[in-house]
């Protein structure tokens, strides 16, 4: 029973990590949105699985909420934004694809090194997935840093929140409900504000490429 549970956990987190890597590999924004959608879906499923194995009924509610918001609502909003503004392709990111993949590899290694003390004291079966969650966290940070399109940065930020949610689910079977709700509310509000700003940037600069945002110096 425990072995199956840890198998599911590792499978889920490595799936999410793969979705993250897609952002580094592909150039089209549409591909990014689908990758994010799948990642959120896997996260919701994993949360439900942890709820089932760790027999904690609250997690089902969290999984449903997560799926509804992150796998359905946000991708639709993102698609609407993507169609209206972007040229559909990430023009020239600061780091070309080959190097980004190498760097992401290095980051996952760093995650394993950093997560060593976590695994040392964890007694939950899902501990094997924690380094992967940390890895996803670093990779989403790298995405935000290296991509030029504003919408890609937003997606990177959402992935960062997914990574932290994954870490929470794996490490502590989810944070207390009231905190979970608070985090959801913040994530949603944050995304909405970012969306408003995306419209703002498009209206004033008629592009969402972050390079134009270099007027405020020194």
């Amino acid at each position: 029973m425990q072995a199956v549970f840890s198998q599911v956990a590792v499978m889920g987190s490595s799936g999410m990590l793969l979705c993250g890597l897609i952002l580094l590999w592909r150039r089209g924004v549409a591909a990014y949105i689908t990758a994010f959608m799948w990642q959120s879906g896997v996260l919701a499923a994993l949360t439900a699985a942890v709820g089932y194995f760790g027999n904690d009924p609250q997690l089902y509610v969290v999984a449903a909420l997560l799926f509804a918001i992150k796998a359905v609502a946000i991708p639709r909003l993102l698609r609407r934004v993507a169609q209206r503004f972007t040229a559909g392709r990430e023009s020239a990111p600061y780091v070309n694809t080959a190097t980004s993949l190498v760097v992401s590899g290095m980051l996952v290694l760093l995650a394993y090194a950093a997560a060593r003390p976590l695994e040392a004291i964890a007694d939950v079966p899902t501990r094997a997935g924690m380094p992967l969650a940390m890895g996803l966290l670093f990779i989403s940070l790298f995405i935000i840093v290296s991509r030029k399109l504003a919408i890609t940065q937003v997606i990177g930020f959402l992935m960062l929140e997914n990574a932290i949610a994954l870490l929470a689910v794996l490490a502590t079977y989810g944070v207390p409900l009231i905190v979970e709700l608070g985090v959801f509310l913040d994530a949603l509000m944050g995304f909405l504000v970012m969306q408003i700003f995306l419209y703002d940037i498009h209206d004033t600069f008629s592009t969402t490429d972050v390079d134009v945002l270099k007027r405020l110096k020194h």
Binding site: V124, I144, A171, G182, D186, I196, D200, I201, T204, H218
Partner: protein, 487 residues
């Protein structure tokens, strides 16, 4: 019962003010007065909390001790209530120039929410909900930055929201790691993330996991506290945001982030001893003082000047935390003094900007002649920031450097002294040129709206009182914090 009354007195007014501002679409005058009244009530409650906490025990209220106010939260809540109360006054609203009812309505709504979230952050016991409240402050303030639509303000708002959210997300990762450490020791309890419980359990927690968590927490909350090199959002946000918002952000939002750092430093120190956290905080503190002070030397925009001065003072406060109990006392006093001085200076900078229509230091001259009321007060604010007596910052820097030397860090303190000196020269140069010289043509001379200056004059007098007399209530409160925080 008394506690819940005080907490509602502290938080409820801002909720009403936000709601009323939203509801009363037309009569902005009434909404403005209500906000001012709300500010006053909230400040009264904060003062009451201050007195009660001084009496001895921490205030607990709400279901499962959700809200808790000990000496530290009383201090920071007091600062927030005072600064926000002053900043949200109707005439301090958005610049008088464009009297646009809709804009000032938006400002009042989200300004009240911004203050509410800050007050909740410092009075909530659960550290995760504290994170949620701080994230809420980012969102509420981000909306207010592009109030005056321009290329620069849009850019500033995007940078603010993105850097702020990424930074604060890391802080949540740290919180999760700490929670994981707690759970793996004592299992899942609903009140696990209460700060008081964490402090009790801390000696039993695993030091190396908490150290990893503290790295994430420090980088996360450091971004909000304006510590270098995560400070990059601060100058852009302040040079574009309306002056009252910059006053609140620079004055007290940094203080809330420092509050969070202090809370978590106490927990991590209880677990693995202060060596690790002191090392980190000293490095980041010195870096912030260096970058803040050196950026003052050639800065031509006086709003960005005040922003970089915030980075420097934030660095000083973090450096002070590493100098033992005397150092903590000095840095908390510095936090209080800086909140007052910075918010007053920003509000006055707003008035100067409205009159001179230019943020360039070279185009603002003869301030003493053209604005005989705001000029001297602005000078007083900047002189306070430079650390000159009779204002409080001189006293807190005196104590801070004294603690630095006596706690055995002469080299770090001397470096901080030198950098503070460079910052002083930078500020002095710009202030001297702005105050004196002939008034540029096309700038009307004479002060308008003397009664607008009343609250600012009161705050300058309070700063001088803090500098020359250091009232006993303040000294005792901060003394108690220093004992509870440091081990």
């Amino acid at each position: 019962m008394k506690a819940t009354l005080l907490f509602t007195g502290l938080l409820a007014p801002w909720v009403f003010s936000a709601a009323l501002a939203a509801a009363l679409r037309e009569s902005t005058r009434l909404a403005a007065r209500l906000t001012a009244a709300a500010g006053a009530v909230s400040f009264g409650a904060a003062a009451a909390i201050w007195i009660v906490v001084l009496g001895g025990e921490a205030l607990l209220a709400g279901p499962g001790a959700l809200f808790r106010a000990d000496a530290l939260s009383a201090l920071v809540a007091g600062c927030i209530a005072a600064v926000s109360g002053m900043a949200m006054l109707p005439w301090q609203g958005v610049e008088k120039g464009q009297a646009d009812a809709d804009r000032s309505r938006v400002f009042r709504i989200f300004g009240s929410l911004f203050t509410l979230s800050m007050l909740v952050a410092v009075t909530i016991n659960n550290v995760a909900l504290m994170w949620v409240a701080i994230e809420a402050t980012t969102i509420a303030s981000a909306i207010l930055i592009p109030l005056h639509r321009s290329k620069a303000s849009v850019e500033a708002s995007w940078k603010y929201i993105l850097i702020g959210s990424v930074g604060i997300a890391l802080a949540f990762a740290g919180t999760v790691l700490a929670y994981f450490d707690f759970v793996s020791l004592l299992g899942r309890r609903h009140d696990a993330l209460n700060w008081t419980l964490l402090m009790e359990v801390a000696p039993a927690l695993h030091p190396d996991v908490l150290r990893l968590a503290f790295v994430f927490l420090l980088v996360g909350y450091g971004t909000k506290a304006g510590l270098a090199p995560m400070h990059t959002w601060l100058p852009d946000a302040h040079s574009e945001a309306p002056a009252p918002l910059s006053a609140m952000m620079s004055g007290v939002l940094l203080a809330v982030a420092q509050y969070a750092i202090i809370r978590w430093k106490a927990v991590v120190d209880a677990a693995g001893g202060p060596a690790f956290t002191n090392q980190l905080l000293m490095a980041l503190g010195l870096l912030s003082i260096a970058i803040g002070a050196l950026s003052l030397v050639r800065q031509q925009n006086y709003k960005r000047l005040l922003a970089y001065s915030s980075v420097e003072h934030s660095g000083l406060i973090c450096l002070g935390l590493t100098f033992g109990p005397a150092g903590v006392f000095a840095s908390l006093l510095h936090l209080l003094n800086h909140a007052l001085a910075k918010s007053t200076s920003f509000l006055l900078a707003g008035r100067v900007l409205a009159r001179y229509q230019s943020a360039d230091v070279d185009r603002v001259t003869g301030l003493v002649r053209t604005m005989p009321g705001s000029g001297p007060l602005f000078a007083a604010g900047v002189l306070a920031l430079m650390g000159l007596p009779p204002f409080g910052l001189f006293l807190s820097e005196f104590l801070l450097f004294r603690a630095g030397f006596t706690s055995g860090h002469p080299v770090a303190t001397s470096a901080a002294l030198l950098l503070a000196g460079i910052g002083f020269v930078g500020l002095a140069g710009h202030l001297a040129r702005m105050l004196h010289g002939p008034a540029p043509d096309g700038v009307a001379s004479g002060e308008r709206g003397w009664w607008m200056l009343a609250p600012l004059a009161v705050s300058v007098i309070v700063m001088a009182a803090l500098g020359l007399l250091l009232p006993d209530t303040v000294a005792r409160l901060i003394g108690r914090i220093a004992e509870t925080i440091t081990i």
